[in-house]
Symmetry: C2
Amino acid sequence: MPSPSLRLISLCLVACTVLACTSRTTTTTTTTSDSTQVAVDPLPSWNDGSVKQDIVSFVQRVTHAGGSDFVPSAERIAVFDNDGTLWAEQPIYFQFQFALDRVREMAPERPEWKTKEPFNHLLAGDMKSFLAGGEQSLLAVIAASHSGITTDEFETVVKDWLNTSQHPKTGLRYDQMAYQPMLELLAYLRANEFKTFIVSGGGVEFMRAFAERTYGIPPEQVIGSQGKLKYEIRNGVPVLVKLPDVQFIDDREGKPAGIQTFIGRRPIAAFGNSDGDQQMLEWTAAGPGARLAVIIHHDDADREWAYDRGSPVGALDAAWGEALEKHWTLVSMKNDWNRVFSH
Amino acid sequence: MPSPSLRLISLCLVACTVLACTSRTTTTTTTTSDSTQVAVDPLPSWNDGSVKQDIVSFVQRVTHAGGSDFVPSAERIAVFDNDGTLWAEQPIYFQFQFALDRVREMAPERPEWKTKEPFNHLLAGDMKSFLAGGEQSLLAVIAASHSGITTDEFETVVKDWLNTSQHPKTGLRYDQMAYQPMLELLAYLRANEFKTFIVSGGGVEFMRAFAERTYGIPPEQVIGSQGKLKYEIRNGVPVLVKLPDVQFIDDREGKPAGIQTFIGRRPIAAFGNSDGDQQMLEWTAAGPGARLAVIIHHDDADREWAYDRGSPVGALDAAWGEALEKHWTLVSMKNDWNRVFSH
């Protein structure tokens, strides 16, 4: 098993290698569904079919008091990956775009970066030289953009970035690229007394800056990768400072571990889109009673992106194999969703 | 700042040094309060006085819609230390008693322990020789009793121990030594749409085995010290195995860090009893708006134990000083509680 820092580097690396690639497709949002349907259908952006039926049937079974599959509401835990499951992740993870933007924004206060690798290459727009620095370059950017700042300050920085940044292809705010069908699904599950959690490889502090507003998920239900925090008193005021050291990487085998550490109860429903979610889906599906394991397949090059095996970001390979073998629910964004983005 | 493993050792050390000490007092439970009062008073085990008034007044202010101190229910986070705050902690932390009992229970399957230090001393009842081994002895006992087992198995082991063990002084089950006034307080806060969390130096998996049943606190609202977990497939079945390595120590400066990592929102109310809670109380009290920081003072040698500064378990020294300086609420178990244990 690779070390946590190697995992972090690996996550960044796949994100970063595509920086130099040309983008593949443009995206458009689609029109909303028939408004007369909204009142009666909790999932109006989901087309009728076996996938929607799988989801609705599962919810009906576990909430049917007296039924053989009934699950008490305290145990109705549903977990969602974030990147590629609740919002888009192309052409690079949005959090990595934030890291790059933040380094550029901080540059005026850090004049030494003009001549210091790898920042000099990044600031000069020379991505080839930047990437040639490998792991060290990526770690330096993550550390510079995510640490040496209090948790309160970091929350403000992320919110400001979201309020002022646009996705390079869609022109949308990043949080407008949440998936409308998934927002409906979150609301539908909560209406049925599920507790919805994010379980993502992304940084926990980064996600919490928008998760409540965007997804209706409160900070205490957001689980992610974490840096270490240092408690200190500054001028008589206690603060928590973000350190560059990794505390926990919530990806792959780390996801079931994160679920156990943070939730302490096995979910009955899990939603992901990539190999990073395989163990979370596996752990969820292996529990007793009714279970729902769902993979979102990015197969819509017109409205979003089309990628799976071999993609440098969000590769779906081993998890796809296990999904087919174990009959997990596979969502085709192209066929099962009549609308993609929440915008 | 000491390393996490040093902290763990330190926690164990103070617990263990008192093993060889004689106990100081015996305890008795008191009779319940006037039953006619229960219907109207949500805190019948709390005597009328300034402390009870502090608590009720705070709750009324933060829940009064339109008032200047109003706090939306999503932000009504209350955090509670466990040992010495929600249940007793003398003469040694109950979790350490569990560790000792478990080593003794495992001994028949581990014949090599008969001649292997420090287990040989422990099994022979020679605590003096056991303690002479210092940190290494304590770590060995914690590792042997808390790892090399799946999370599901560990939960069963802890529940079995609770169901079959008695406190050496009171003869009560350990979970009957939860404090009745604190159970009422938890229920009162939840009735006022607070979310109640445990934030304890104790092991998270250990506490979750009884927190829901005893305190009404679900596993996802229990924050504690954590060992690392390893995800693996055994005979086709995924399991999470508890490793002997420390992931995070949720004590002292670790408590605000744990709160931020797990909850992501600063509490508005915090309850503790020892120096291990000082930073949690400080962090809570330093936020804007109405705040409640409460220290339970163990001053009742007749019904429980009397200890503070200099106690080998649950020392209250620096936190007491800060409480007096900052006018935190100090609960006298002797004067403010008309009943102690939930039994």
